[in-house]
């Protein structure tokens, strides 16, 4: 049984079916089960695509193609790891308890919501799923409108770029001093800051949102920042980070920390229960969560082998992340957070550089442990990946 029909859930089913065509698979999801690519949520506006248009394969077709029994719109209420059963309730139905041979948790993560003051704080939105985007598009309406984004991390910057291209006015608020402060060297952040500013974004660094109130003037919302500024907005979008969905696993007595803890075979503390995707805390990544796409593809392949009788240790290759900010495309292969070292800029090659830059993260022994490429330099991805020690 698989809980969750996102990329992790469906990819696990797909990889499993490559090795085993007959063992029954039941996939339980609280949503529709329609297949879509989460990274496309943050460029839907520029692509002029509605949430519905992001679905690449409808749920029924996925289920049919992969020979999976899909329990959609069904909320899992409990896992009994002793009895090896799962209890879930379909919308409008009564709770059902089904036994599992092996269980895969692919429950994903949810956006962190910061406590805010103000009578309109409940109107702040986050986008992490298709239904969120549909709601956002419906309530925001056509450009030009003003959107204030909380968070200048990867998601905040992607949405900022996307909305700017869609003709919206965008403000971005972040307590750090620069965009993607956690991932990029200062000089790369500076390039991104400049590139988005050229598109019209208004940055508010060194500040946080304190309150969101009903506006009294021309704007529906009045947003108060920690630095005393008040801004008018039509919408506030919160993009301050993700937290793994561990509630179900925790309640079942499965060991969780920042995510559902799994060993190198993706097994949790409960035998026969596995986890992958945004909900998992991977031993293979030094007990870290990896909220990106490439880890899922690697994990699903290893997990499918384990589930079909060939226990396989997951070894992550270097997995650079593409940041989809058309104003300055960026590729980041971040070093482990605990890795000591410094960012060193490559001297740009005047013949090949089309703007952008390249930086290498060098450890005290002189080994390259990460890299960042921006703009035209992103074409050097393979070259810098090869130079990076795992």
């Amino acid at each position: 049984m698989i809980v969750g029909a996102g990329l992790a859930g469906w990819t696990t089913a797909r990889e499993f079916r490559k090795l085993d065509a007959s063992t029954p698979i039941v996939l339980v999801t609280s949503d529709s089960g329609d297949f879509y690519a989460k990274p496309t949520l943050s460029n839907a506006c520029a692509q002029k695509r509605s949430a519905e248009q992001l679905v690449t394969t409808p749920a029924a077709k996925m289920a049919e193609t992969l020979n999976v029994t899909l329990q959609s719109r069904s909320l899992v209420s409990a896992i009994d790891i002793q009895a090896k059963t799962l209890t879930f309730t379909a919308a409008g139905g009564a709770p059902r308890t089904q036994p599992y041979g092996q269980l895969v948790l692919a429950t994903g993560a949810h956006p962190i919501r910061l406590p805010l003051q103000g009578d309109a704080s409940a109107d702040v939105q986050s986008i992490n799923q298709l239904t969120d985007l549909a709601h956002f598009q419906r309530t925001l309406g056509a450009a030009p409108k003003t959107v204030l984004i909380m968070g200048a991390g990867l998601i905040g910057c992607e949405f900022a770029n996307d909305l700017l291209l869609g003709g919206y006015h965008v403000h971005v608020v972040d307590p750090t001093e620069r965009p993607l402060a956690a991932l990029l060297p200062a000089a790369a952040s500076e390039q991104l800051r400049t590139a988005l500013q050229a598109l019209g974004v208004v940055w508010h660094f060194g500040a946080t949102v304190q309150a969101v109130n009903r506006g009294t003037g021309k704007s529906p919302l009045a947003v108060t920042l920690s630095n005393g500024d008040t801004l008018g907005a039509d919408m506030v979008l919160s993009a301050v980070g993700l937290r793994a969905d561990i509630a179900l696993a925790s309640a079942a007595g499965i060991a969780c920390e920042r995510g559902v803890a799994v060993n190198e075979q993706l097994q949790t503390s409960a035998p026969h229960v596995f986890a992958l995707g945004d909900c998992a805390q991977y031993a293979s990544a030094g007990a870290r969560t990896l909220p990106y796409v490439m880890p899922i593809m690697n994990a699903a392949r290893a997990l499918a082998a384990t589930l079909t009788g060939s226990p396989t240790a997951l070894v992550f290759p270097l997995m650079p992340v593409s940041i989809k900010t058309p104003a300055l495309p960026t590729v980041v292969a971040a070093p482990h957070p605990a890795q000591a070292g410094t960012w060193v800029a490559d001297a740009p090659d005047p013949e090949t550089a089309h703007g952008g830059g390249a930086w290498r993260f060098m450890d005290p022994q002189g080994q390259q442990r990460g890299f960042v490429l921006t703009g035209g330099q992103t074409s050097r991805r393979m070259e810098l990946a090869k130079a990076t020690a795992p």
Partner: protein, 54 residues
């Protein structure tokens, strides 16, 4: 020249542009992209690409 979207992660392969950084010349049609090529953004093998013409 057509463009294709990786349905897993949204990466766009543009036949006109190719992927020179991966050794795929501009103008390479999808059928001629090596089977060993994988999606640069998500690692999905070409065989698993369920391409959708944009």
């Amino acid at each position: 020249m057509k463009t294709y979207i990786c349905i897993v992660c949204g990466f766009v392969y543009d036949e006109a542009a190719g992927r020179p950084e991966d050794g795929i010349a501009a103008g390479t049609q999808w059928a001629d992209v090596p089977e060993t090529w994988a999606c640069p953004d998500c690692g999905v093998a070409k065989a698993d690409f369920e391409v959708v013409v944009v």
